[in-house]
């Protein structure tokens, strides 16, 4: 038991884990204000930060404290008044810890939203109640869906500016549902908000007695975190092989530990495993975390596996259960988002990194490029920054993969340009 639990008056809260979510919307939708409001109403903002933004607000001649200043990080952004890169914010409610990925909504920054979405398990899509569904709403929704975010919350903001009119809320909801259906989005929750006044963010406020659903914070508190609903098939990419070979300790002389994180599923001592891509079978002898031996390892735990038989295993191999293997392949088809200012050169070879494995790759074909505003498919032979395309690759070495829609950890990859070493694209295996 930790010491803090012994303090008088301390009631240990139930720890419901950690939720990563994403906010999408443009500056005008009040996204920064919403994040500021969440931080402010959960008492995450501390006095000195508040006094700094109060001073800035006064200097700019604003009447109320501009909560959006909390999330405007970098100098360049403050000058332009827009968010240009993904920023991460943290708050806790005592029961759950949150990581917010704050992604800019501007047209040219698709790549930032894709980045922010890659680690999120829930997306809040902001709509200005006065404007309804815009092109960018469709774009954000499509990207959230493409990136496999399982839960989507559509927050219809600025309700205060339309007199908290329920009819407007209902109309936008109906419009959204119509196009969400086309995209295949099924899990959507709608909520009316005024981030500026704080209505339905943490507190209910007085403006919308007609809305009886949960507040935004209630939704966040109840949302499943990634690991409680992910793929149940065991996936363990090997990150590092531990061979201490310490002459002074005979027990460690033959120690071979395979270190990594359980990306999905679970495994127990004695369970049969299959090592990919070689295809050799053995059993789990022990599961270690420092001095502990664990009876089983669960999704998202970083552990060290010891195996019964001496098999040659190195970084990049994947340990699975024999009855639920991953696909070992030298050919992948994927949806790819191009992230680099340097366009794709289909003649060149690139590096593909998937789980802990890396291989050279050549472009076989580009099936189509997608207009993410209209979802129209266009023929192309080139990709530039922010383009999304369906394409296939030939690989120099096999990868052990699952479809991204089934497993985000084993279905995702990045593309690296060897000349610059830059990460130039992100891919989702089909």
């Amino acid at each position: 038991m930790s010491a803090v639990e012994n303090l008088p008056g301390f009631e240990p809260p139930v720890d419901t884990g950690l939720l990563r979510f994403l906010t999408c919307g443009s500056v005008d939708d009040g996204k920064s204000t919403l994040i500021g409001r969440l931080l402010y109403d959960t008492k995450t903002i501390l006095a000195d930060t508040l006094s700094a933004i109060t001073r800035t607000s006064e200097r700019r001649g604003l009447e109320a404290v501009d909560l959006s200043l909390l999330t405007d990080g970098l100098q360049a952004e403050r000058e332009q008044g827009i968010t240009i890169d993904v920023a991460y914010r943290y708050f806790t409610t005592g029961t759950r810890k949150y990581i917010i990925a704050d992604a800019p909504g501007h047209e040219q920054y698709t790549r930032n939203m894709v980045t922010a979405a890659s680690t999120a398990n829930l997306a809040i899509i902001l709509i200005d109640a006065r404007k309804g569904i815009l092109t960018q709403t469709r774009r954000h929704s499509y990207l959230a869906h493409l990136m496999g975010i399982p839960h989507i919350v559509v927050a219809i903001n600025k309700m205060d500016l339309i007199g908290y009119d329920q009819a407007v809320f209902e109309r936008i909801r109906a419009d959204y549902l119509a196009f969400a259906k086309q995209l295949g989005i099924t899990d959507v929750i709608f909520i009316p908000l005024s981030a500026l006044n704080g209505d339905m963010v943490v507190d209910r406020g007085d403006g919308m007695p007609w809305y009886t659903g949960p507040t935004l914070l209630d939704i966040l508190e109840a949302a499943p975190t990634a690991h409680s609903e992910s793929d149940e098939r065991f996936r363990f990419p090997v990150q590092f092989v531990c061979r201490p070979q310490r002459a002074d300790d005979p027990e460690l002389h033959d120690f071979r530990g395979f270190m990594g994180r359980v990306e999905s599923g679970s495994i127990g001592i004695g369970d049969e495993v299959l090592v990919l891509p070689a295809g050799r079978k053995t059993r789990v002898k022990d599961i270690r975390l420092l001095d502990q031996s664990l009876p089983q390892a669960l999704a998202e735990q970083s552990v060290t596996l010891l195996l019964e038989d001496e098999i040659d295993i190195s970084r990049g191999d994947m340990i699975v259960r024999p009855e639920e293997s991953a696909l070992v392949t030298r050919q992948i088809e994927a949806m790819v988002c191009w992230l680099s200012e340097t366009p794709l050169d289909p003649q060149r070879k690139y590096l593909v990194r998937q789980t802990t494995r890396e291989t050279r790759a050549a472009i076989s074909s580009i099936e189509f490029c997608l207009d993410i505003n209209t979802l129209e498919q266009m023929q192309t032979s080139h990709l530039k920054m922010n383009d999304i395309a369906r394409m296939s690759f030939r690989l120099a070495q096999p990868l052990c993969v699952d479809a991204y829609t089934r497993n985000r950890a084993t279905g995702a990859f990045i593309v690296i340009d060897e000349s610059s070493n830059n990460t130039v694209a992100a891919g989702m295996i089909l």
Partner: protein
Amino acid sequence: MSAKAHTLSHLDWLEAESIYILREVAGQCANPALLFSGGKDSIVLLRLAEKAFRPGRFPFPLLNIDTGHNYTEVVEFRDRRADELGERLIVRSLEDSMQRGTIVLKSPDEPRNKHQSVTLLEAIEEFGFDCCIGGARRDEEKARAKERIFSFRDEFGQWDPKNQRPELWDLYNARVHKGENIRAFPISNWTELDVWQYIDREQLELPSIYFAHRRPVIRRNGLLQPVTNLTPAGANDVVEDLLVRFRTVGDVTCTAPVESDADTTAKIIFETAETTITERGATRLDDQTSEASMEQRKKEGYF
């Protein structure tokens, strides 16, 4: 227990993520180093490194950039901890850079934090490190909130906030050309409260100055300035003997303690949860200069 029903506690999740990041550094980098100052965040890093690599040795040495403006408790702790772990500790000091003439101080007692970058870059060059692991957290400061977990630096150690490598999922890219390097931040997603909760859970030992103790201080601009050899009291200063603790330790001339009677980790967690001032706001005399001062320093190669 079915895999579906379980949820890792937030500390278990953060720990697992940090271990994963450390192992990625080890798997991808040829010659990394871990920055260890004896401060609480780097003490947490060492614990995570133990969980990541034992029973093996750490696949990197520990590196400390010594400002020469230290509290002796912290330096003693640093040396003892490295010794207990049986890991190699490399210390490179600002004094050496000053003697070489690569650091020129405006005045002998000016804060040395910003000069650490010079000595750090010299150490990176001397040992050919391709990655330095640090204990920075995104909740510390606005500029850090946007920094990648694997943060690319050119050969001048510069961070370019407008041209960062995209970082998606947990697929980190540590590839560099010769002379360039990566700064990896395994506890990016931790907050000050998470760090204290982890210290409590793991029963980690800390330098004594993190806990409440009596110390002569002067009140300046709302902060407490400790009276030390480096920061003596002026003729008109009112010296008070107060019960204080440090929330962060660093250069003596620019790290301020806070008034507190918290003498255990449990009490510190209580205070941290209740506190109304950010860690840097309450304790860093050098960050107050301008809202953008951290961003500026990072562009120049600061950690």
